[in-house]
C-alpha cells in the first residue's frame, strides 16, 4: 500500500544578490518517489543533492527564502503541500514521526525525558499525565532503554548519544504514527551503537507495519536496512527501485559512480569517479543535469531531460531501455 506519494516536487530559494537582483536557486527539481507501508525507503545522495530538503519540504518545515513552488505529496489521501500550518502541526509528531541526526539537539535540555514523552502525547491527544507516563515507560522499554521507570526521571545530559537517540525514536513512535522519517539517525553515533539503533528502527517498522524514510549518505546502511532506494542528484531522483536490484545492477551512471566509490568496490586509480562541480542551481541547464559528469553523455543529453520508465527499477537516463544497464 502506498503511504506517501511525492510527485514532481520543486523547491526554490529566492534570494537577492549584491545588486539587488532576484536570483532563484532551483534546489529541488521534480522529486518523485513512493513510500510503502511496512517498508523502509532509503533516500541517498551526496551532500547538496537535496535529501534533507525533500523531507523538510514535504513536512512543511521550510523557512524563507526556501519555498515549495510545485508538486504534491499525498499522505492518506491528503496533499501535505496544501495543508495549513496548523493542519500540518497536527500531523507532525502524531501521524508522522521525525528523527534527526543529532539526538542531543532534538531533546529539551531543561525537561526530564519522561516529561518530554508526556508532552508529545498531550500535544496530540487528551490523556492524563499519569497514563502518559505509563505509556512513556512502556515506549522507553520498547526501544531498549533498561530500567525505563527510573529513566523517565533522567535529564537528557545524563544520556549517552545512543541512549538519547533511542529516546528520540521513542518520542517519534509514541503517538503510533503511520510514517517515520529518519534523517541520518546514526551518523553521529559509533559503529557498534549504529547497528543497535538501526536494528531497533527496522524492528519497529516491521512490528508496527508503518512506512519509513531513511535519509543517509551511507550505502552500507541502505544495503543492510532499506527495502527500497531512491538515489538523488542535483535536486531530483535519478534512479529508484528495490535496494538489492539497484545495488547489484545500477542503471544510472550516477548510481554506478556512487557505488564504484564505496570502499568495498573501490580500486586505486580507476574510475568512474563523480567529478567536477555540480550543476549551477541558479542557471539550471536544460537537458540532463548529470551530463557534465557523465561518461556517456551525447547530444540528446544537452537538450532533452530524461524521463523515468514505469518499471519497478527505473532510471532517468536516455540510455536506459527496458531495464538494461547503461
Amino acid at each position: 500500500m502506498t503511504l506517501l506519494s511525492v510527485r514532481g516536487l520543486h523547491t526554490h530559494f529566492v534570494t537577492r544578490d549584491a545588486l539587488d537582483q532576484v536570483r532563484t536557486a532551483h534546489v529541488l527539481n521534480g522529486v518523485s518517489f513512493n513510500v510503502q507501508a511496512g517498508r523502509i525507503l532509503g533516500l541517498v545522495g551526496e551532500s547538496g543533492a537535496g535529501k534533507s530538503l525533500t523531507m523538510t519540504s514535504v513536512l512543511g518545515l521550510l523557512r524563507p527564502p526556501a519555498r515549495v513552488v510545485a508538486g504534491e505529496a499525498l499522505f492518506q489521501g491528503r496533499d501535505l503541500l496544501r495543508l495549513s500550518q496548523s493542519e500540518m502541526a497536527r500531523l507532525r509528531g502524531n501521524r508522522i514521526g521525525f528523527v534527526v541526526q543529532s539526538p542531543k539537539a532534538s531533546l529539551d535540555p531543561l525537561a526530564r525525558i519522561g516529561e518530554q514523552l508526556v508532552r508529545v502525547q498531550r500535544a496530540h491527544r487528551s490523556i492524563s499525565r499519569r497514563a502518559g507516563q505509563e505509556r512513556a515507560e512502556a515506549m522507553l522499554a520498547a526501544v531498549g532503554i533498561p530500567d525505563a521507570r527510573r529513566r523517565l526521571r533522567a535529564w537528557p545530559h545524563e544520556f549517552s548519544g545512543g541512549m538519547a537517540q533511542r529516546a528520540v525514536i521513542a518520542m517519534a513512535l509514541i503517538n503510533e504514527p503511520e510514517l517515520l522519517v529518519a534523517d541520518e539517525p546514526t551518523t553521529a553515533l559509533d559503529v557498534t551503537v549504529q547497528a543497535q539503533i538501526l536494528d531497533l528502527l527496522a524492528a519497529q517498522v516491521r512490528e508496527r507495519g508503518i512506512g519509513a524514510i531513511l535519509i543517509t549518505h551511507d550505502l552500507g546502511v541502505v544495503a543492510q536496512y532499506c527495502d527500497d532506494i531512491a538515489v538523488m542528484f542535483a535536486g531530483s531522483v535519478v534512479e529508484h527501485g528495490r535496494t538489492a536490484a539497484v545495488l547489484t545492477r545500477p542503471m544510472h551512471p550516477c548510481t554506478q559512480a556512487l557505488l564504484a566509490s564505496t570502499p568495498e568496490r573501490f580500486h586505486f586509480g580507476t574510475g568512474p569517479r563523480l567529478a567536477g562541480p555540480p550543476p549551477d542551481l541558479f542557471n539550471l541547464p536544460k537537458g540532463c543535469l548529470y551530463r557534465e559528469r557523465c561518461p556517456r553523455a551525447e547530444a540528446v543529453c544537452q537538450d532533452v531531460p530524461p524521463m523515468f520508465g514505469d518499471a519497478a527499477q527505473s532510471a532517468a537516463c536516455h540510455f536506459v531501455t527496458a531495464g538494461a544497464c547503461v
Binding site: A244, R265, L274
Partner: protein
C-alpha cells in the same frame, strides 16, 4: 627503518578523581614507506595518539621517538625545525586553512618556513606541489572559499608533503568528504605514498577505508591498543573480541553480504571511570573473572600480530555469532 615509535605512552588530562586517561600504555612503531592505521570509536584515543606522536601534546608518561631522536620532553623551540619532518592533515579542511590567504600562499607557507628557496624557485615548487595533488594552475590564485571540500583537502595534503616529511599523521582525512570525493583523495594518498616513501599514520573509524590504505593496523579502545598486526590478518582473522565485534558491526554496501553479527550491548564506558583490568570487560560476551583482575598482556595471535586478550592462550578468543 623506523620512522616513529612510541613506548608505553600515557596521556592524562585533568587531575584525579576526574582525570581522563586518554592513552594508557600504548606502544607502537611505524616504518618508512608504511601506512599504520589507527582505528577505534570516538573516545578511544586515536587522535590523542596522533597528536602525541607529533608532539602537539606532551605525553604524561612514556616516550616518543621520531627519526631516531627521543623528543618526548623537547620544548617547542627545539621541536620547530623538526616540524618540517613530521606533518599533519586534519579532518576538516575548511578550518585548517587561513581563509584570507590564496592557495598559492598557503602552499608556499611551509616552504618559506622550512626550506631555503629563492622566491622564483619557491613559486615553481608550489606549482609542482599543486600538480602533484591534481590542482590546476588557475586554482592557485583562488582563496579557500572558492574551492570545494575535496580540493581544499588536496591543498592540505600539498602543505603536508611540501617539506618532504618522514612522518605524516592524517586524522580522519576523508571523513568530512562525500563518497566520490573521498575516492579521489584515497587515490591521491596512494600515489603520494608510493612517490614520497614517507611513513603515514592514518586515523579513521571507517574500517573499509582502513582496509584499502593501511599496511598495519592498531585497534584502540579506551586509550589502549587491544590488537595490532598486518591489516589483512587483523581484518581477516581478528583475534580480540572487540575487533571481532567492530568488524561485524560494519555495514557492507553489498546487498546480501551480511555476516553473522555480534551484538554488543551498551556503549563505551566513560574514560573517567574506566574499569580496572581489561577495558572491554563491560561489553565483552566472553568476559571471565580474570579479565576483571588484571590488564591482559599483548599475546601473539600470528606472525607480527598481537592482541590483548587472555583467552588467546587457550585459543578460546572467538565469539560465536
Amino acid at each position: 627503518m623506523i620512522a616513529a615509535e612510541v613506548c608505553d605512552l600515557g596521556m592524562r588530562f585533568g587531575r584525579p578523581p576526574a582525570a581522563i586517561h586518554a592513552l594508557d600504555g600504548v606502544s607502537l612503531r611505524v616504518h618508512r614507506g608504511q601506512v599504520l592505521g589507527l582505528v577505534g570509536e570516538s573516545g578511544s584515543g586515536k587522535s590523542t595518539l596522533g597528536r602525541c606522536l607529533l608532539r602537539l601534546l606532551r605525553p604524561t608518561s612514556g616516550s616518543v621517538m621520531v627519526d631516531g631522536q627521543e623528543i618526548t620532553d623537547w620544548p617547542e623551540r627545539r621541536l620547530r625545525p623538526l616540524r618540517a619532518n613530521m606533518t599533519m592533515v586534519f579532518q576538516d579542511p575548511w578550518s585548517a586553512l587561513n581563509p584570507r590567504m590564496s592557495i598559492r600562499r598557503l602552499i608556499e607557507e611551509p616552504l618559506k618556513l622550512h626550506r631555503p628557496l629563492s622566491a622564483p624557485t619557491r613559486r615553481t615548487e608550489a606549482e609542482r606541489l599543486a600538480e602533484l595533488v591534481h590542482l590546476s594552475r588557475a586554482q592557485l590564485d583562488r582563496t579557500p572559499s572558492e574551492l570545494s571540500g575535496g580540493q581544499l583537502q588536496r591543498v592540505c595534503i600539498a602543505r603536508a608533503v611540501a617539506t618532504k616529511p618522514t612522518l605524516i599523521v592524517l586524522d580522519e582525512p576523508t571523513s568530512s568528504l562525500d563518497l566520490s570525493v573521498r575516492a579521489g583523495i584515497l587515490d591521491l594518498l596512494h600515489e603520494i605514498r608510493t612517490q614520497t616513501g614517507a611513513a603515514m599514520v592514518f586515523i579513521t573509524h571507517d574500517l573499509a577505508t582502513m582496509r584499502l590504505i593501511a599496511d598495519r593496523v592498531a585497534v584502540l579502545y579506551l586509550g589502549q591498543v587491544l590488537e595490532e598486526g598486518p591489516v589483512a590478518d587483523v581484518m581477516g582473522a581478528p583475534a580480540h573480541p572487540y575487533t571481532q565485534a567492530l568488524l561485524s558491526a560494519h555495514l557492507s554496501a553489498e546487498p546480501g553480504v551480511r555476516p553473522d553479527r555480534i551484538r554488543l550491548t551498551g556503549e563505551i564506558p566513560s574514560p573517567v571511570n574506566r574499569p580496572s583490568g581489561c577495558p572491554f570487560q563491560t561489553r565483552c560476551p566472553l568476559v571471565e573473572p580474570r579479565c576483571r583482575s588484571a590488564r591482559p598482556p599483548m599475546l601473539d595471535a600470528g606472525p607480527a600480530h598481537r592482541a590483548a586478550c587472555v583467552r588467546i592462550a587457550e585459543a578460546a578468543n572467538r565469539i560465536a555469532a
